[in-house]
């Protein structure tokens, strides 16, 4: 055996030693079930507790039952509404407005973010303005939107864009700024220039921060959208906000709480979506926090595959 092949063998031996400790097994269906249960039961418990406290408050008769109904009035009401098309149409309409507005905000925010990150004079001029926009509470935009566009769905779309775009732009700017200097040096010595440097290094490096910006932008857009739906009354368009207002007009607290639960669930579902995206991004880069047990680690990586 020549010295060189001997070295290759020795290296391979070391590599195997290293990799042996990371054996990954595919989780069985039972393991996946156990995992889901582990993450689900604290949440279920929290819901049960919240409902129980609500019922206790209801039974204490602090307020008339019409003004503060208990869970056993609200959930049947919700169930009933879920069996009729009106609520589903409202959900569909609201989500459509959210998605359309968010898509436009995504385009606006990304373009503005890129320009600000790339062009120093633009950054000096509007960099802090973007952060300033983020501090404006979303309802503050409503008079502006109504006067500018009138009582119609364009005003609502505007609400979504103006509230979401600054966060999206800021996420991108922060991500570009946080490109690790060492990687930048490596990229430059590798001959990556201008467009190629952006495509291969700066943008991928900015991705996690961009996704955080998207998540925050979505939260603001959701606020802006519902504020818009509650206050910009568009004729013939029964969105979730409109249902809420009509329940308020009829002093139907049961209906109000039922719709609020729908809003809560929608918000949580989208949040889970963003978290999953974020998590899989981080895991691909080895940034995910190590689960506490070796078994958890294997499960996590096994599922990621």
């Amino acid at each position: 055996m020549s010295a060189e092949t001997e070295d290759a063998a020795a290296l391979a031996g070391l590599d195997n030693l290293e990799q042996d400790t990371q054996v990954k097994t595919r989780p069985s269906a039972g393991e996946i079930g156990a995992r889901i249960w582990r993450s689900a039961w604290p949440k279920l418990l929290a819901i049960v507790l919240a409902v129980a406290i609500w019922e206790i408050v209801y039974l204490l008769n602090l307020k008339p039952h019409v003004v503060l109904p208990g869970p056993f009035q609200v959930f049947p009401n919700l169930w009933d509404q879920l069996n009729h098309t009106q609520l589903w149409k409202a959900i569909g309409l609201t989500l459509r407005q959210a998605v359309e507005g968010f898509a436009l905000a995504l385009i606006v925010g990304t373009v503005v973010g890129l320009v600000v990150a790339r062009v120093p004079p633009v950054r000096a001029a509007v960099g802090s303005l973007i952060t300033g926009l983020q501090t404006i509470p979303s309802v503050v935009w409503i008079p502006f939107a109504i006067i500018l566009f009138g009582n119609n769905s364009t005003a609502i779309l505007f609400m979504v864009i103006i509230t979401a775009a600054p966060s999206i732009a800021n996420g991108l700017i922060a991500g570009v700024d946080l490109t690790p200097p060492l990687l930048l040096r490596a990229g430059k010595t590798m001959g990556l220039r201008r467009f190629e440097l952006y495509r291969s290094l700066v943008l991928p490096a900015a991705l996690p921060s961009f996704v955080s910006g998207l998540k925050q932008g979505w939260a603001f857009a959701w606020h802006g959208l519902l504020a818009g739906e509650l206050l910009v009354i568009v004729p013939n368009l029964a969105s979730i906000g409109v249902l809420l207002v009509s329940d308020q007009d009829q002093t139907d607290m049961t209906g109000v709480i039922a719709i609020m639960i729908v809003i809560l669930v929608l918000g949580v579902l989208v949040d889970v979506l963003f978290n999953t995206l974020n998590e899989s991004l981080r895991r691909r880069r080895g940034l995910a926090q190590a689960p506490s047990t070796a078994k958890g680690w294997r499960l996590a990586t096994g599922i990621a595959r």
Partner: protein, 271 residues
């Protein structure tokens, strides 16, 4: 002192011989380079009148105390920084840089990382993949092409970084303490790996380390820098057979001499 050690000591080349004879080809020419960082009270002279040349195919090791400007010198050669005074020239040769950290792109797999410089050089996709896999094979990592950096050990990452540097097909390879963070056994193996590739391909290497023994193990020439400001203090020609053992008597002996000189320099700063 034996005659052999005596002759080794006499082998010191005085700094004056650093400049090559007229007409000799030079891969890297560093001429009277000064680098100053900051200004006013925070002004720091990192390098002060450093002259050094590396011949094509030569393996030069740069040693010196921490903070003496070794990394700065490499950055100047790579064109990442501009000298305050003096000139650095590589005569249009391609320069690759390998850092102490692997500096791999964490969102790319090992093979995609190696493909990057090929893409920057406009190599087409199928050819790129083929060459990248070949390079990974040359660092004995063909089985790990699809792994992401965080799934590899430190030594493997550094080998991927070496493959990536080799992918630039450079004439000059700059290495800044590339094996500093590795265990002794992996480092030994990587020394032989690097030496083998270097001997086959014949590029020049400018290799920074603060391990004197590593410098003697690898270098044709060892250049000792002084601290604050950085100057070339002395150059040592290291003749001898390759591969040299890191623990061989010859290596140890030479390293001791150079270390003595380095200590002298450090002690000068204590007083």
């Amino acid at each position: 002192m034996t005659t052999e050690q005596q002759s080794a000591l006499n082998g010191h080349a005085p700094p004056a011989t650093a400049a090559p004879a007229a007409g000799t080809e030079v891969a890297v020419a560093i001429d009277d380079v000064t680098k100053v960082f900051g200004r006013g009270s925070s002004r720091l002279v990192a390098l002060d009148g450093v002259s050094l040349s590396v011949a094509p195919g030569e393996f030069v090791c740069l040693i010196g105390a921490s903070g003496c400007g070794k990394s700065t010198l490499l950055s100047l050669v790579a064109g990442l920084e501009e000298p305050t005074a003096g000139t650095v020239s590589t005569g249009g040769r391609r320069v690759a840089f390998m850092f102490q950290e692997p500096a791999l792109f964490p969102w790319l797999t090992a093979v995609q990382n190696v493909e990057l410089p090929l893409r920057a050089n406009g190599v087409g996709r199928p050819e790129r993949r083929r060459r990248a896999l070949e390079l990974l094979d040359s660092v004995h990592l063909s089985g790990f092409a699809g792994k992401r950096p965080h799934e590899l050990s430190g030594g493997m990452r550094q080998r991927v970084a070496l493959a990536r540097a080799l992918a630039q097909d450079a004439d000059v390879l700059l290495m800044d303490e590339p094996f500093g963070a590795l265990d002794a056994m992996t480092r030994d193996l990587l020394h032989e790996l690097l030496e083998g590739i270097w001997r086959r391909q014949g590029f020049s290497v400018l290799f920074v380390t603060h391990e004197v023994r590593e410098a003697v193990r690898l270098g044709d020439r060892v250049v000792l820098l002084s601290s604050r400001p950085g100057r070339v203090l002395e150059e040592f020609d290291v003749h001898g057979e390759r591969p040299r053992g890191l623990e061989s008597g010859d290596t140890v002996q030479r390293a001791l001499e150079i270390k003595a000189r380095l200590n002298e320099e450090v002690m000068r700063h204590v007083s």
